[in-house]
């Protein structure tokens, strides 16, 4: 599949920048308040991976649905979740998007097409098959996206789900955000063939590996992939190569990688690259980029204020939502 890259549309360009910056600023605030001990539990940041989330979600239709990964803040943000309620959730507040019951690892809002981030690696691929199965049965123009990482592609459920989606011709888009580390373990230690796209071949699922830090490439690739899947051709898999600049979680001492490696990827930061490209190609002015910076900074500051002003759940709320009526 050769991706056609059209001339950069300014509105789309600004929107992709807005998504990436919203996500980056959101996670920087999470990181900051976590370091102050004001956020409880754990958190898995996707700083550096925003190109994959923004490019993918930006190319989807509003009615499409995503299953996010445990490193899925950026995926939820870019799909259009309410960042105020998401921030409140991470601060464990009652008006959080999951009422304070899920936290960083389980961000979900079905009404915004965010079916839920999973704390277990891999099951989302099978769950996405089921959602896609339902939409296909009802002949709805909805594509279901399963985000997963390179690490999850070693789980059995990855292979089972690819097989099922393939043999049942399900409208699923499998998106691998390949950041080359499963926690601390590099992909070369756990896979002989590190091109994950090859894993789709035995299931006769078309797959392609792209530069996930080039948001424009991601956007254009997913636009085409979405069209292919929505037209009833069955599933497709896109591997978006990227890098996690932040540590795995709060406990990460970065003992498994060098400062130089991290620094080299900071140079390849998808946001930095996109800004440079927009200026170089004359798509936006620096002032316009600055305006998006300010707008997203204000948005996230508003989200933090909303979260901090929000009440904690009441203890009796613990019994709610275990069962549906």
């Amino acid at each position: 599949m050769a991706t056609k890259k059209s001339a950069i549309d300014k509105n789309i360009a600004i929107e992709l920048l807005r998504k990436m910056l919203t996500s980056r600023k959101f996670e920087e605030k999470v990181q900051y308040y976590f370091s102050l001990g004001m956020i409880h539990g754990t958190t898995h940041l996707s700083i550096g991976e925003e190109g994959t989330a923004a490019g993918t979600c930006g190319a989807l239709e509003p009615q499409d649905q995503i299953y996010a990964t445990h490193r899925g803040h950026s995926q939820a943000v870019c799909k259009g979740i309410d960042v105020y309620k998401m921030m409140a959730e991470i601060f464990a507040r009652a008006n959080g998007v999951c009422k304070g019951k899920g936290g960083s690892m389980h961000i979900a809002d079905k009404d915004r097409g965010v079916l839920g981030a999973n704390g277990i690696l891999g099951p989302s691929l099978a769950l996405a098959c089921g959602v896609a199965f339902a939409h296909k049965k009802r002949k709805e123009d909805i594509v279901t996206v399963a985000f997963f990482g390179d690490g999850a592609s070693n789980e059995g459920v990855f292979h089972e789900s690819l097989n099922l989606a393939s043999v049942w011709n399900l409208p699923v888009l499998f998106i691998c955000t390949n950041n080359t580390y499963g926690m601390s373990t590099h992909i070369t230690k756990v896979m002989k063939d590190t091109d994950i796209a090859n894993r789709a071949k035995p299931y006769m699922i078309p797959a392609k590996t792209i530069d996930g830090n080039d948001v424009w490439e991601v956007y254009n690739t997913i636009k085409e992939a979405r069209k292919y899947v929505a037209e009833g051709n069955g599933p497709m898999m896109i591997v978006e190569n990227t890098y996690r600049i932040s540590g795995h979680s709060k406990s990460d001492g970065n003992l498994y990688r060098t400062k130089e490696e991290i620094a080299s990827w900071k140079e390849k930061c998808p946001i930095k690259r996109w800004k440079e490209k927009l200026i170089e190609n004359g798509v936006c002015t620096q002032e316009e980029i600055d305006a998006v910076e300010k707008e997203t900074t204000d948005l996230i500051e508003g989200a933090v204020k909303f979260a901090l002003d929000s009440p904690y759940p009441k203890l009796e709320d613990v019994y709610n939502d275990v069962y549906a009526d």
Binding site: E89, G96, V97, C98, K99, G100, K101, G102, H106, A108, D109, K110, D111, L115, G116, N118, G119, I120, P123, L125, A126, L127, A128, C129, G130, V131, A132, F133, A134, H135, K137, T144, G156, V157, E160, S161, N163, L164, V167, N320, D321, V322, Y323, A324, D325
Partner: protein, 327 residues
Amino acid sequence: MGKIEMTYANAIKEAISEEMRRDQNVYMLGEDIGVYRGAFGVSGGMIDEFGPERIIDTPISETAFVGCAIGSAVAGMRPVVEIMFSDFMAVCWDMIINQAPKMRYMFGGKVSVPMVLRTASGGGTGAAAQHSQSLEAMLCHVPGLKVVIPSTPYDAKGLLKSAIRDNNPVMFLEQKLLYRTKGMVPEEEYTIPLGVADMKREGKDCTIVTYGRMVHMCLAAAEAVSKEGIQTEVIDLRTLLPMDKPSIIESVKKTKHLIVVHEAVKTGGLGGEIAASIAESEAFNYLDAPIKRLASEDVPVPFCPILEKGVLPDEIKIAQAIRDVLA
């Protein structure tokens, strides 16, 4: 109200078929449930009525197809998924433990998972250790699931219809050795609410709390000791989670004696939970004797029929337990 005789397997089939006719969102998926009719013949003929689009044969891929069932439930369908043997739940444990029962809670109540997972449970068939287990206690340890084990065709049909209409993941544990047993079932439509126990025999001397296949053993034992003048009350829990504890407590207050009988192994089994519930309740003060648990020996289910029979409770052991408790 007219009644007809039918097998436990047919009662299950009738329940699903009626719900599939009533609601287009209900469908079945599992291994070899179509033309093959399922490993225990439950879905015989259903593919002829509903077609392969609604009676769906899956790959041998429990994690994928149970995950698919869950996902479709999230998207508004009502899957009835069959896992051939309950032992195979272990193959897709993540879906059963971490996914289906957790979503509603951890996603703040916006998602529901109206799924029924049917599976054949229990021993006595010579299928040995990986095809004979009774794993219900593990499921009851997971809030968010509901767990049902019917003992008669009447209960199976009424409970399964309720399970399909329930908006939560319901684990429906069918008893292998009961599939061919027969009972009377109303011709008219009916449902049985989940979470309500059924007194299968009334008595004043001793309460037996049980469920599933053991209900019949307990009834036979109760009949045997009735000739000795002992009147045993047999309570069939029917739903294990949520459990109808008030019915147990009321019965024990009346009879002052409690025996719990199940086919699952004793250690970590529901007998402990039931005994503890009585110990914590006002019924404890009414007890005239220690509570007794009858369950399988704490060993994997053996193949040899002499050994398998030997580790399971039976009517003779139950009858003796009644006499012992009342002695």
